[in-house]
Symmetry: C2
Subunit: 504 residues, 2 copies
């Protein structure tokens, strides 16, 4: 490595250390805001968050850094593969940031800090009008943003690519078309059959007991050390953290439903496991953590659905759940519970949707976001458009915006283009499970006392790479082929036609 | 205001905004580390904390800022009194920071991040040897630090002045001499009398019930809105926050002792009230929050001791406590409880010490710190010196370092010169109560259902000023005279000679 390259590397690494320090500050601020900060304090700290963003922006757009990345990018053949990939990503990021005026970037960060409490309040009071003005500001910003980024491209393509590199409307349209064509007929048949004969929970499932089952028992099954994992409650479950050694999870409990929190816990711990099993060698680089949104979601959904909703999993763990809720579940058979947690139905709430209809919830959001960015829809018309699509695709009437357009936190965080990765993640997961079955006894692995077998395979094939490679490359290395949604569709068709006794 | 001054003000205010943003990051990091962060993550985040300090240091020592403060300092007659006071303090701070080499400042911040978990572990295991090496590093740094600051001054004077401006060994020696002369004879007489005839708690006081009493009932008495205050648990109770609108308190519960957590809660809420009642006009300045360490401590101790340990207070609130612990306290009289919470005895633990002997605990620490900085004591000899002084002044044998030199967190945080402000704070408090009695019916105020009366007087006379004036000036405005420790000594002599039936 020549002197010029070495000097550039030094500048680059100094900047990374500082960006990581800001990341710690941002992470702690949002974790705190969403789990325990007094609501009255949000407005006051918004200014400080804005200022942190301003400093972080200055750092990211510092001419010396830009020059260093340019130098490293030109000499990238001499860098290690991990560093090379990092520099390629940084090069792209810098180009992106450069196009956004600093004062707009800073304003947006402040907007985000104010939007979350407004959203929470609006949802609590089922009051769309309290959220509409700030969401209008957010969308207006993003519409300007995509033009700054690349005036020639279709705006939504730019946002989609930010959450999953290499995927735009062309790819997602194809993907959702396939799902629509293959799944919609099955979903219709199941809806006609109905679930009248299935067991349903009644009475109250004490939150304390649910908590104990999730935080102690499920945590052990998922191979999480209690000393190393923080679990709290928040409006909407999420995973957060700072590197491999600080993984945090939130959950939300519903006394009428014993299953919701369990699957949320498994889901979030799936995300957490991905972070924890990253190669420690990547700790001090910018290549730790997940490779992309869909890759992250593939891990949570693999555990939540393919493992957590399998018959083998509950064969092993249902007796413990019965002991936890002796009065409520003592007389309920394993079969009944298995059918209950795999019930498919036309529903209102994405996070409570079943595995089969879930992608339809995503499709609604995908179509709405697409329309917001091709100009055919305005924010003020979102609630009505939401209702219309839920009626059309899911056959349900939305009783209030709390169960409709206000149900998800994502848009309040400025995340447009994020939702589609959820559906893509499930497809990645199915493809990985297909490959995993060639290396291990899947039925045995999911019904063991802990999920160590599945976790080890994923560590070796997926997790250890962190973000040091493109998601497409990791998928190829792990499964031996490029992205192929057929496994996902086949998995769903097979599972649900059997569950509901429907001929394919 | 001329253009030059205006420009300087702009530079200064931009810098303040950024320092406040770093303050948010530091506050959230330490709050998180001390209440819930996984222990394994501390080492990993120490690097990020170090980097944040590095950036904060660069900001504080930026030549443009220094020039701006100099310009403002020279033109300070044209500034508002609040801003003028701020600039005078900043001018002093800049002079201070300038003398510390940046790499040392940064190293120290990293040292601090590593010291806390080491201290917690050492205390948990009663293992001084696990803490000694890092404390040696801390003291070595501070010994170098005081030379950088001012090689001509006695090192400990510099540290004392940082925690309470205007107070050095001359002032503290006089103050402790007075306490020693007046209180030690009384303490000896009380120790001879003993507490054999006093009621003592037995059995277990359920932590859940203690928590409920502190977090719900006492919180209301102290006029804290549950929606606006976060209360958690930590090794050692403390108050933290970010401005008026984000006040947080921690507590620590002992099942064998129903009083400890109650007085910790009142104490910490006393600190919190000071922050909350600051003039909102100071929110966006660097003059919010408490004026000094001793001023802050005066507020916590005024509520903990002068209000919380008064007969009138328990006349009002003891029935509620009895209802909370019906089995344990139902048959215990108000008199017995009052005597119990005002028991004076020779004790080991500062935070559990009674109001009368408390200053002797401080005196031990004051003498040890003084010796560490005049070179007559080394860190390795601290445990033995600690034991000797506790034997001499408090007549007790220290059974282990956990109950001795490891009992307080302060030194692990690099805070030398901090302890003496605790004793000074009590003296400020007694002087304020003396003045308050001329404006309101004290007996009625402390026995009302909430402490609104006391809180309002303090808001008007002390809290609203925040840090916009020197502590000495606030004390003068509030009480009509300069610092006078006689009120404190008189208060203690009167209260405890009556309690123990000792002639004065």
């Amino acid at each position: 490595m020549d002197t010029q390259l070495k000097q550039a590397l030094e500048v680059y690494q100094q900047s990374c250390r500082r960006q990581k320090a800001f990341q710690l500050a941002f992470y702690l601020e949002s974790w705190d805001a969403e789990t325990e900060a007094p609501a009255v304090s949000c407005e006051a700290r918004a200014g400080a968050v804005e200022t942190l963003s301003e400093m972080s922006y200055e750092l990211a757009t510092d001419p010396a850094l830009k020059q260093a990345v340019k130098t490293l990018y030109e000499g990238r053949k001499e860098l290690s593969p991990t560093l090379r990939h990092e520099i390629e990503r940084q090069h792209k990021e810098i180009a992106k940031l450069e196009r956004v005026p600093q004062e707009e970037y800073v304003k947006f960060a402040g907007l985000m800090a104010r939007a979350y409490p407004k959203y929470v309040e609006a949802k609590r009071n089922d009051d769309w009008s309290a959220f509409e003005p700030i969401l209008t500001e957010i969308v207006a910003y993003l519409r300007r943003y995509v033009v700054w980024r690349d005036g020639d491209k279709h705006g939504y393509d730019i946002l989609l690519d930010e959450f999953e590199p290499g995927y735009g409307m062309a790819e997602y349209d194809r993907f959702f078309d396939l799902l629509r064509q293959k799944l919609v007929p099955l979903v219709k048949k199941i809806a006609e059959k109905g679930n009248a004969d299935l067991w349903k929970p009644t009475g109250e499932y004490k939150v304390d007991k649910q908590k104990d089952f999730c935080e102690n028992y499920i945590r052990k099954v998922m191979c999480f050390d209690p000393k190393e994992t923080v679990i709290k409650e928040s409006e909407h479950p999420f995973t957060s953290g700072f590197g491999r050694l600080d993984v945090r999870i939130t959950n939300h409990y519903y006394p009428q439903d014993p299953a919701s929190a369990i699957f949320s816990a498994i889901h979030e711990m799936g995300h957490g496991m991905y972070e924890r099993q990253c190669d420690p060698a990547l700790d001090d680089t910018m290549s730790g953590g997940g490779a992309s949104m869909a890759m992250h979601e593939s891990q949570s959904r693999l555990f939540e659905n393919m493992v957590g909703r399998s018959y083998g999993f509950w064969q092993k763990h249902y007796p413990k759940l019965q002991r936890t809720f002796r009065k409520e579940l003592g007389e309920v058979s394993l079969e009944d519970w298995y059918r209950y947690v795999n019930k498919a139905e036309l529903s209102l709430i994405r996070t409570e949707a079943d595995e089969l209809t879930y992608p339809l919830h995503i499709m609604v959001r995908y179509e709405l976001e697409k329309a917001l960015f091709d100009g055919s829809l305005e924010v003020k018309d979102l609630p009505a458009a939401w209702r219309a699509k839920y009626k059309k695709y899911l056959g349900v009437d939305v009783p209030g915006d709390r169960e409709g357009v206000l149900q998800d936190v994502h848009w309040a965080g400025g995340s447009f283009g994020y939702f589609p990765t959820y559906a893509l993640g499930s497809a990645y997961a199915a493809q990985m499970v297909h490959a995993m079955k060639e290396d291990l006894d899947w039925d045995q692995a999911v019904s063991a006392s802990t999920l160590k077998g599945v976790a080890s395979w994923l560590k070796k094939k997926v997790h250890r790479y962190g973000a040091s490679k493109e998601p497409k490359d990791i998928l190829y290395l792990a499964t031996g082929e490029g992205f192929n949604p057929d496994y996902y569709v086949e998995y769903l068709l097979d599972k649900y036609s059997k569950l509901y006794g429907i001929e394919r």
